[in-house]
Symmetry: C2
Subunit: 411 residues, 2 copies
C-alpha cells in the first residue's frame, strides 16, 4: 500500500506498507552529489556525509553511534554523483527512535574541531581508494568520458580540494542543498503510515525550505578515445569502456538495462562466454548507469596486461556483432528472467524496497509497485533493444586502461 505526503516546508514523505514484513527501513534521500559541486568544493558532498555522523546540538558522535546501536539499527549512508542517502532498518517498534536519530543528525553541528579531525579521515580514504586500481579506473573513465560535464566530477574530491576546503564552505553548501524541498524520506516495511507522518512532521516540520535547483542538466558531450594510465605495483590491467546510453528519464531505460545484461552480465552473457569462461579475463561485465539527463554503458575488464589488446579486440567484435544483428529471442528471455528474479529478490526486504522507492521518487516523482516494475521489464521487445542500439550505438568507444601497460599493442 503506497502513501505520499508533502509537508508545508516542501519535504516529501513516501511510504509502502507491507504488513507481512517483520522490519521497517527508512531513508533520507538528499538530491545532491558531486555533480552539484563547483571545483572549489570538490568532494564536499561526501565529506559532509561523514560530518552528519559527527554530532548535533543534542548528540555527540558517541551518542549517535550508541543510540543507533541500542535499537539494533542496521544503518549506513552513501554519496554518489547525484545523491546523498542516509538510512537504517530496525524492528517495527523502533521506528520512532530511528526517525528521531536520522532527522537529528541531518541537522549536524559541523563543529570546527570535528571538521578538522574528519578531514584527515577523508584524506586517508582518498589514499585507500587510490590503492584500488578498479576504483581509479572507474573514477578516471567517467572523467575521460564526460569530459567537462559535471557528471565527470570525482565523488571523493582530491587531497588538494579537501585540504583547501573550509568549514564555512561546507556550511554554505549544506544550507543551500539540505533544504526540505530537496529531500525525500522513504519508508518501507511493517509500519503505520499515520505514525510515520506524525514523526516526520514532528522532527522535520521546522526544517528550512528553499530552492536547490540542479542547474547543469545539459546533455553530456561524449568523448571518444583511448587513454593509457600507467600505474606501478598493479598486476592486472583494468580497462573501462564507456559509450552513451539513455538517461534516467528515457523510456528506453528498461531496454538499456536488458541490453547490458545480454552483452555483459557477470554470468551467461556474451562477454562471459567469450572472455571469462575460456579464462582470457578475470572479470568482464557491462552495466547500464542512468543519471538525470544522461547515461552510459560501462564495460569493465580486468586481465593480464599481455591479453589486453586481444580482449579489447574481442570486445569490439561483440559490440559490432550485436550492433549489426541485435539480440536473439532466447537471450532476451534469459535476461528478462534474470532481471525479474533480481527485482523480486531485492524487493523482499524492506531495505531493498525503501531504496527502490526513494530512488524512483527522486528520479521520476512517481511510485511504481513491484508488479509495475516487473511489467515494464517484461514488456521489452527485440525491437526496443534495436531502438537502444540505433539511438546509442556501441561505436566510438571511450577506452581507459590503467595498470602495468604503457601502450596498447594495437596502438
Amino acid at each position: 500500500m503506497f502513501h505520499h505526503r508533502s509537508f508545508a516546508n516542501g519535504l516529501t514523505l513516501i511510504g509502502e506498507v507491507s504488513p507481512s514484513a517483520r522490519s521497517v527501513a527508512v531513508g533520507f534521500f538528499v538530491k545532491t552529489g558531486s555533480r552539484d559541486e563547483s571545483s572549489d568544493v570538490s568532494g564536499v558532498s561526501h565529506f559532509l556525509e561523514h560530518m552528519v555522523f559527527k554530532g548535533t546540538p543534542r548528540r555527540s558522535a558517541f551518542d549517535v553511534n550508541r543510540d543507533f546501536d541500542r535499537i539494533g539499527a542496521h544503518y549506513n549512508a552513501f554519496t554518489s554523483e547525484e545523491n546523498t542517502v542516509f538510512y537504517g532498518a530496525v524492528l517495527p517498534e523502533y521506528l520512532p527512535d530511528a526517525v528521531d536519530i536520522l532527522a537529528d543528525i541531518l541537522r549536524p553541528s559541523l563543529r570546527q574541531e570535528d571538521f578538522d579531525l574528519e578531514k584527515n579521515v577523508i584524506i586517508e580514504e582518498i589514499g585507500m581508494y587510490d590503492d584500488q586500481p578498479m576504483w581509479c579506473a572507474y573514477d578516471q573513465s567517467r572523467k575521460a568520458f564526460f569530459a567537462d560535464h559535471p557528471l565527470g566530477n570525482t565523488v571523493l574530491g582530491s587531497v588538494e580540494s579537501i585540504k583547501a576546503l573550509s568549514r564555512e564552505q561546507m556550511q554554505g553548501y549544506f544550507d543551500r542543498r539540505y533544504v526540505a524541498p530537496n529531500i525525500t524520506v522513504s519508508v518501507a516495511g511493517n509500519f503505520d503510515w499515520n505514525q510515520a507522518v506524525e514523526l516526520l512532521e514532528k522532527h522535520c516540520g521546522a526544517w528550512p525550505t528553499g530552492v536547490a535547483p540542479r542547474s547543469n542538466l545539459r546533455p553530456a558531450s561524449h568523448r571518444e578515445g583511448v587513454k593509457i594510465v600507467p600505474k606501478d605495483k598493479v598486476i592486472q590491467e583494468q580497462v573501462m569502456v564507456l559509450t552513451p546510453a539513455p538517461g534516467a528519464d528515457s523510456p528506453l531505460r528498461y531496454a538499456a538495462d536488458i541490453l547490458a545484461m545480454i552483452v555483459g552480465d557477470d554470468t551467461g552473457s556474451r562477454l562471459y562466454w567469450e572472455l571469462i569462461d575460456p579464462g582470457m579475463a578475470d572479470s568482464a561485465d557491462m552495466s547500464y548507469h542512468d543519471y538525470e539527463g544522461a547515461g552510459a554503458f560501462f564495460t569493465m575488464l580486468s586481465c593480464e596486461p599481455e591479453n589486453t589488446a586481444t580482449n579489447l579486440d574481442a570486445l569490439r567484435e561483440i559490440y559490432r556483432e550485436i550492433q549489426a544483428n541485435g539480440a536473439t529471442a532466447e537471450e532476451l528471455n534469459t535476461a528478462k528472467n534474470k532481471v525479474l528474479s533480481r527485482i523480486v529478490r531485492g524487493s523482499e526486504r524492506p531495505m531493498g524496497r525503501m531504496q527502490a522507492l526513494g530512488m524512483g521518487w527522486t528520479y521520476h516523482q512517481k511510485y511504481r509497485s513491484v508488479d509495475e516494475e516487473l511489467a515494464a521489464f517484461d514488456a521489452v521487445t527485440i525491437a526496443d533493444l534495436r531502438r537502444v542500439l540505433d539511438e546509442f550505438p556501441l561505436h566510438n568507444l571511450n577506452v581507459l586502461a590503467l595498470g602495468p601497460l604503457t601502450k596498447l599493442a594495437s596502438d
Copy 2:
C-alpha cells in the same frame, strides 16, 4: 508453515512455506567438509564442490550454467569445515527447473579431463587466498588452536595435496559422503509442499543410501600460545586470538553469541570503543563459531605492525575486565536488539530462511521458527553470560600474528 519428510533412501526434505514471499530458495546441505578428510585427500570436499558444476551424464558444464541462467537463478555453493552446500533462489514458477538442475549436478560425472583442468583452477585459487593475509591468518589460527583435531584441517587443501589427488580418490570420497542419508534439502519461500515432495522423490528417490558417520567427534584439545608468522609484502599485521567456546549442541550457544557481540561486534562493542573509534586498529571484532562438538571465540585484529603489542595488551585487558565483572544490563540489552534485528532482517528473504532452516536441521535435527529463534536469544540473562565465562574463560589465549612483524615487542 513447516513441513518435514524422510524418503526411503534416507534423504531428508524440510520446508517452510511463506505465502507472502515472492520467490523460493532451495538448498542441498551435504554434511561433509574438511573435518571429514584424511590428510591424503586434504581439500577434496572443496575441489568436489567445483566438480559438481562440471557436468553430468545429462548436462555439460555449459548446459549447467545456461540452464541456471535461463530461469534467472541466483545460485552458488560453498564448502566449510563441516558442510558443503549447493543452493539457488528463483521465481516460484521455476522451482521444478531449479530442483531438476541441482539434483542432476549433485550426481556429477567427475570426468578425468574436467578433473585435470579443474585441478589448475583449485591450485590458482589456493594461490589467490595465499595472497590474502586475513584469510591466511584465519586458516593458520584454526590449525594452531585445534592442533591435531580435524577441525584444524584446511578447507582448500595445499598445492601438494591437490596435485597428488586422483580422480579415483575423489570418486571414492563422493561415493562415501554424498549418500542420501547424509543430505538435507531445505526449501523456503513461496512454494507448494506437495509439489516439492514430488520433485524430490522424482529426482533424488533413486540416490544410493548408505552410512556416512562423522567419526571424529572428540572434543578439541585447545592449545594456548603465541605464534608469529612473518610475511613479506604485507603492510598491516593480522592478528587472530582464539579461545574455546560452547559447541553447536550446547544450550549456552545463544549466550555465547551475545557475549561475542558485547565484546567485539563491529560497531558499538568494547573492542570498537577501545581500538577502532580511537583509530588504534583498522578492524577488531570477535565472533562466535560453533561446530559439532566444539566451538571457539575468534577475535580478529588488523593494525599497523607497531601498534600490535599495545593493541594485544588492550585486548587482554578487555577480556580480563569482562571475565572479572561480566557484562552490564545495558550491554546485554543492546546486543539483544542487534541480534534480534539481524535475525529478523535475515529471515525476510527466502534465501536467508532456507539457509537458517538447513543449518538448524543439519546441527540439531530440529525446526525452529523465527519467533522461537528470537525467543531463545531474548531469554539470555546476565547469569547465562556468566555461565559462558565460567565454563569458557577468556584466558590462555591462542594468538597468531601474521604480517611484517618477526616478534612481538612484549615477547
